[in-house]
Symmetry: D2
Subunit: 353 residues, 4 copies
């Protein structure tokens, strides 16, 4: 087979959505000098759009990448002897090369979950040692929305975690690298996962939803409390020509492009999951609620399929693979892929077949 | 006065050079998915271009901003009990919100200099306490090229520092946020400030020379020795859609756009310095060897001038201000500015005038 | 009941063994000034004694406490993007208030074990992500000897872990807060758990074996490689009047006092375990191989027993408690305690009894 | 010459004062088990004695060494993007192997002073960049009492710094490794340098005043605000057999032994300074206000003198040496030393002599 133009490897294998690129180009128009580090009109406008979603008290700090946004946001919430409770599948726990431990100095308390989602009961069980100086002090609950296994927290599930955290003197952090996908999937606004739900700080990701590279830390505490300005700068996440980061957000948050892109990607995942669900030998592993499909397939199918369609193996032992869709995935892409899975699986019938 | 379209505040107030923007657009063309995190053809090409300048042994790691590139590069050279000798004016010492101390865990030994430039003699005097466990161990000499005060190290000056460092079991780091300006000013290639000059790791900046946001760490040690891949990721400086960072470098390093842009900016600074040098009450403070002009002017002139042309005061007490030129500064911009300085200074004659 | 003079709470509730105290007093005799920071004859002698056990290549660095010794030793072995594989029960993982993450910047990969002991197979399963920049790089295997649940690694078990670690480009670290107890239990010398067994760095604890407060980092790498001198000082673990730390080691390592004390404590744990094993309602939870007994007992017994004999609950949910013996625990102490357990348990018969 | 039994190298070359050693021995008497980590009667008593000096609101945390006490105390006052203003001669700046930068993550802003003492004017000049995210934010003024050059802050000088710090939203930290010497010299109580003087956190050193190894962090903020319990533990400064640290403080703070020892050491320095002041070729470099004498002497005298009396050269270039006295320095020691200086200096007349 020849390689496909579009893959199911990751939503960060996509390029830039045309409207986002146009916004970057427009921000460069005219050649005027503008103040650096965010004191420019594009950043002001992008911030205004964020506040339309998250409320006027939202403090917004743009950053370069998801790891940066997570570390910066978390750092505003805790000190090194305090700990973060998260799912063991959390991006901060497994995919950031230890950046959280390194930069926070804090321990992550990683909790196994059936579906990538924390619950108050799981957090409660993990929050041990409070008041004991020999033990790290649980201080932040961090959740990912949508989760790393493609599931979504319902609004009331986030609210329950917010209440639990606040009742225990803790903060709720949300890694929203794919928050748009969750909001689109649940049919709610982005603000549904802000202060109203009890979230104290969140990372909002644009990169995986059609941007070139743009992430934001949204905090519902005052600047003075959070000191996020200084934390961002010291954490090497302050862009000098900020307007070109801001323009990406402005494009996505205008005309609900964020939702259009995310809903499309979600729909493609749904279509993919529906397509493979009926294939013998393929078992979808988690509820498909965002833009990811996890499935167990025969390992020899994986190998043959990857020649044409790069994607990642999620769990080597269990033969579970991950297929991500993106804003630019087409129905044809999905249908071709499903057909390829079908063909390859059929040519490798199970012994009992 | 009305505000000028172009200012002398900083070279990061400029936008994107058209060729750089075109390269970003081109990298998005077609909509193909490409591997993230640098395993893409654009990054391969940009790396090839770097090696044309710095040699085949150069290891190149793209990063988001200058602070990130400096911290990542330095981190590959030292451990927390080891120290960095730098000029007290160094960007790492005064303009990065303590990021080096924070992320390296190391002390910066800041040395006063007459012109922003370290020398072996200055480094020697600062390198005390070797072998004494109570004292940080000097391990890296870090220089900025061109310096924060707009001067340039001659090639042989860098070589002398390289020899001194290596003779003392130390490394030489170069913060090249404006390396292009220095190379253009001295009429040499970028590679003149690489391994041949004894530099072990350098930051190469594109942002201030017409890019949107692109910096690189160039190391002359093997990957295995430097571990820069892991350091970059853990330091939150790894871009997922890397090709759009790489494309910026590819544009600047092709057809010597880096030199054209830098030489132009340098020329505008020269023109500006020449223009103000003859004005009574204006004293140029440092040799103008790159794209910065420092001058002492009457404080009331500063205030009036800033209304139309934003720029920064460098030394409040000494009334020294900084004027930066950029790739997009025009002769008209400079001449208008000089005329404004002349007019404002003339209207504020010194008591003895 | 009235409180007992001796408890089973922890071996650090004991005071100082008379010979250790005598050595401290002797080190003060005469009132001569001696060089600080370890350049004194007592430290020289203590180091000589360590080398008699661990070989002439052993580099010895005295430290204040176990957390300090562990963090200092580990820091000589890895960089922040590298990780430590340890048992989830490891002291470094649960009892040091996150000091390892804080000071190493590294992730601990905590592995569940049936008996507190890692194996090559467990390490192998945990050592994932090698070569992947998104993932921390496993670099050190850290084991505790004797373990936190009172079991001991056989010499060949340590050797197997050393071989596995070295074959995978990793180091083997040993937390020997109770190494004396393990060596005494297994009837081997302390050196059996040094370089010959493949251990690269170990913490050797004296405090829990009759000292006042004295721990050592023993490294089998050269000073130049490990830089432990600087790491210790920067880690706030360098004593100025070092001779009084050293004297404690000199006392314990002369005349095999370390073994006498440890063997006695082990014997008392054995006696205690044997005593309670026959009591209905008491189940000893782990093999009793050092100076700790873990047992599940009815929660109401725990409460009543703690009034007279302070001790810690190990696992609230499983009603497992921990009883530690010490160098100064007497047979009478143990017999009285067993009698108390017997009496209290008898008065709380199980429903089926 | 043969080596002297007592030297002028450092007050940490002395042993333990008999009363301190007796207190350690007494704390071990009886062999009872007592709770570890400070929940013991000796620690309670030592804390009570501290509060008699520093007031009932003083929170007291014992630590192992001065570096530890300084880092722990400072850590309770600032975050990594915040900076510490200190004299360039400060122990935290030059003698702790970079531990403050390493563990605080913060920059030290080191200020040259004529006499080792900061003033509000010096602090004011150093406190730049407030509100600028590119710059570290000054947050703590740290002073050493008595200073590293043997001078003392008057009470009103400390008060002035406290007022200045608090008026600028900053804290005042005091490194009191030799606070006893200062209080004895000025004829005031220890509490004169506590909350009443505007000090927020101080390190109180016992080691250099006759203890074996005992330092304390005294904070005037509530436990909840400072979190010092957790900071101390995570910083590896929590002793398990705490009572033996506490006993040293109890001994020094009872019967004013702290003052007796310090006053004696101060008197010996005075005697030494008076003795050498009349010797040609010897110039005392700083006011002798505590237990240190700094003097410039001919370098050949230094060398000959060190053969018998070890001491440190303070400033190689200026031929300035440091002579420390201690609680156990005798008049005879001083007189013999002065005679030796006299003799050696006389035998090396200056060319013009």
């Amino acid at each position: 087979m020849t390689a496909s133009r579009r893959t199911f490897a990751s939503d960060n294998w996509s390029g830039i959505h045309p409207s986002v690129l146009a916004a970057i180009v427009a921000a460069n128009d005219g050649g005027d000098h503008v103040p650096s580090y965010g004191a420019d009109p594009v950043t002001t406008e992008a911030t205004r759009l964020f506040r339309r979603h998250f409320g006027d008290d939202a403090q917004v700090f743009f950053a370069f990448n998801g790891t940066g946004a997570n570390v910066v946001g978390l750092q505003s919430l805790l000190r090194p002897f305090e700990a973060v409770i998260c799912a063991d599948t959390a991006h901060i726990n497994v995919d950031e090369c230890g950046a959280p431990e390194r930069h926070l100095g804090s321990k992550l308390i990683a909790v196994p979950t059936p579906d990538g989602k924390l619950t108050p009961a799981l957090a409660e069980a993990a929050a041990v040692g409070t008041g004991d100086e020999h033990h790290v002090q649980p201080r932040v609950v961090s959740i990912t929305q949508s989760t790393e296994v493609g599931t979504c927290y319902r609004v009331e599930e986030v609210e329950a975690l917010g209440r639990w955290a606040h009742n225990h003197g803790m903060w709720l952090h949300l890694d929203g690298a794919r928050l748009s996908n969750a909001a689109a999937s649940l049919g709610v606004g982005l603000g549904a996962f802000g202060a109203d739900a009890g979230v104290d700080v969140l990372s909002f990701g644009a990169t995986k939803n059609g941007a070139m590279g743009a992430e934001a830390v949204v905090s519902f505490r005052s600047d003075e409390e959070s000191s996020l300005r200084y934390i961002r700068k010291q954490s090497m996440q302050l862009a000098s020509k900020m307007r070109f980061v801001s323009a990406q957000f402005a494009a996505l948050l205008s005309d609900d492009l964020w939702r259009t892109n995310a809903a499309h990607a979600n729909g493609m995942a749904r279509r993919l999951a529906d397509g493979v669900a009926v294939i013998d030998g393929v078992d979808v592993a988690y509820p498909v609620e965002a833009n990811a499909v996890f499935a167990s397939i025969p390992p020899e199918v994986t190998e043959a399929l990857q020649e044409r369609y790069p994607f990642y193996v999620w769990d080597e032992a269990a033969h579970v693979v991950r297929w991500m869709t993106s804003f630019d995935t087409t129905e044809q892409d999905v249908d071709d892929f499903v057909a390829a899975v079908d063909k390859l699986t059929g040519s490798h019938p199970s012994p009992s077949g």
